[in-house]
Point group: C2
Chain length 296, copies 2
């Protein structure tokens, strides 16, 4: 099986699990279930859950233990996209080739669908911890890493600075802050949560956290590059949106070639820190390489 096929099979497994949380429901509030399900099922690479599951599995942890946390992090990621697409934020009409949530359900429901997904992510994790089939301390610690990464010291903090920086010249430090918080934090937390549930020792945890930080930042820099040189069909969204929103990116600060070089260096560093895991980490190594050359 080539790597892309392997990745797709792992993604499908996550898709199947996620669906269980969003079966069509009746009741007075059925619109909110439809709106949440719409964005959850609108595609996406499932990078964060796949990473979390893979890391846990590599360390000998059980996939059943980590799965609710993997689904929760995808819910958090999806809520952040719904809110990010709103007119008051990036004002995007399309995401992954489909109309954005507020274009289908209206702004009010889109705000609530985002709120609902964030809340459901925590409900999902807490429920798993209460079930008692997972080590409680590991579950709580994994949830804490995810919560911190999603919050004002993490993803939301990055979104705020991103929003405030539109139309302004920003320096490298500010841009790095945005990228590290807005995108990297949640990717790193996926890996940390997988490591905690998988039972990583201190050295393994440190190495995996560094791996996550490096691929997370590289992922966002490649995003910046694809917004300039990418193929709209493959991406499922308009290119040039950063430029049109007057956003500073690695490309606007350093140009395409230098940005590619920075991404490559980060990817190489991410692969180097995996050495202690030997062959077991081959999937993570290939995923690093894939993130560097991805075109969607």
């Amino acid at each position: 099986m080539d790597f892309k096929t392997l990745l797709l099979s792992k993604k499908s497994r996550v898709d199947e699990e996620l669906k269980k949380y969003f079966v069509a429901k009746n009741g007075f509030q059925k619109t909110i279930f439809e709106a949440m399900a719409y964005s959850i099922n609108a595609g996406g690479k499932r990078l964060r859950p796949v990473l979390m599951i893979e890391v846990c599995d590599m360390l000998g942890g059980k996939i059943d233990d980590v799965m609710p946390f993997a689904c929760a992090i995808e819910m958090i990621h999806t809520y952040s996209l719904i809110h990010d697409d709103l007119p008051a934020m990036d004002n995007d009409d399309y995401r992954r080739g489909k109309l954005t949530n507020h274009k289908v359900f209206g702004e009010g429901i889109a705000i609530l669908a985002g709120d609902g997904l964030l809340n459901l992510a925590f409900e999902t994790m807490i429920k798993k911890i209460i079930d008692g089939k997972i080590d409680k301390d590991k579950g709580i610690q994994a949830m804490f890493e995810i919560a911190k990464a999603a919050g004002v010291e993490g993803m939301i903090g990055g979104q705020v600075v991103d929003l405030e920086s539109e139309g302004k010249e920003i320096d490298k430090e500010t841009l790095e802050f945005i990228h590290l918080k807005k995108t990297t934090a949640l990717i790193e937390a996926s890996i940390k949560a997988g490591a905690i549930i998988g039972g990583a020792n201190e050295q393994e945890y440190g190495a995996l956290s560094e791996y996550g930080r490096n691929i997370g930042l590289a992922f966002q820099i490649v995003d910046d590059i694809l917004d300039v040189v990418g193929d709209e069909k493959k991406l499922g969204k308009k290119v040039g949106s950063d430029f049109n929103n007057d956003k500073s990116t690695y490309v606007s600060l350093f140009g395409v070639d230098k940005s590619k070089k920075i991404a490559k260096d980060l990817i190489n560093r991410s692969i180097n820190v995996l050495e202690i895991f030997g062959e077991k980490a081959d999937f993570l190594r290939e995923l690093s390489r894939f993130l560097e050359v991805r075109d969607y």
Copy 2:
């Protein structure tokens, strides 16, 4: 000390504790701290945290144990108001006599400030559980009750139906659904969380849950009444907003007198279920009476 003074002193204690989470911070994302603090410090009765603390205390639980959960539920309540006030929702310019969050910080930051508060609520609860000074199982169970009440099966579910019902004639069942979910769920969860952390037995937990359901619904019915007959200065917001937003309320369905009667019956029932606690529940009894006659 008369009851109102006693209530104010309990509210002040919550105000002091809440402030600790919102000390002015520098850093790239300082706007989000300002925006969250603005709405948290904009007043409010602190009904939910006061109830939670009181119930825990009455059962012999420690106030230090319950306090982070009490602050968390106020963060959740505050986030729901910020999002509710947005133009895409109720479109309110004033809340508690002050400009609403989006009127001060803009819609984008207001959305993120709401997201940030919801996330911070969970971070706060998880941190307390990790600290190890509280019984882990109680902490997790209390957090679970709060999470469920705040989510799509609770508060958010109620908001969705509320939003969709604007401008429509709705029946009593739909209105009761909205009130039970949008307002009652979180008030009931405050009491449940206090009961769990305070170590309630099954009978006590059942009685307190029923108390919460009754005062929660009464609270919202009184809100409906105050929107018609209330004093704008005391309320800190315009009256008549339900009518102007074309919203069905207990008053529009039953009239003021019948609504007052329904609220009174609920208050009486809430007091009756407290019998098993004897004198210890005097504060909760007085609070019930106060909620019936409140004018703000």
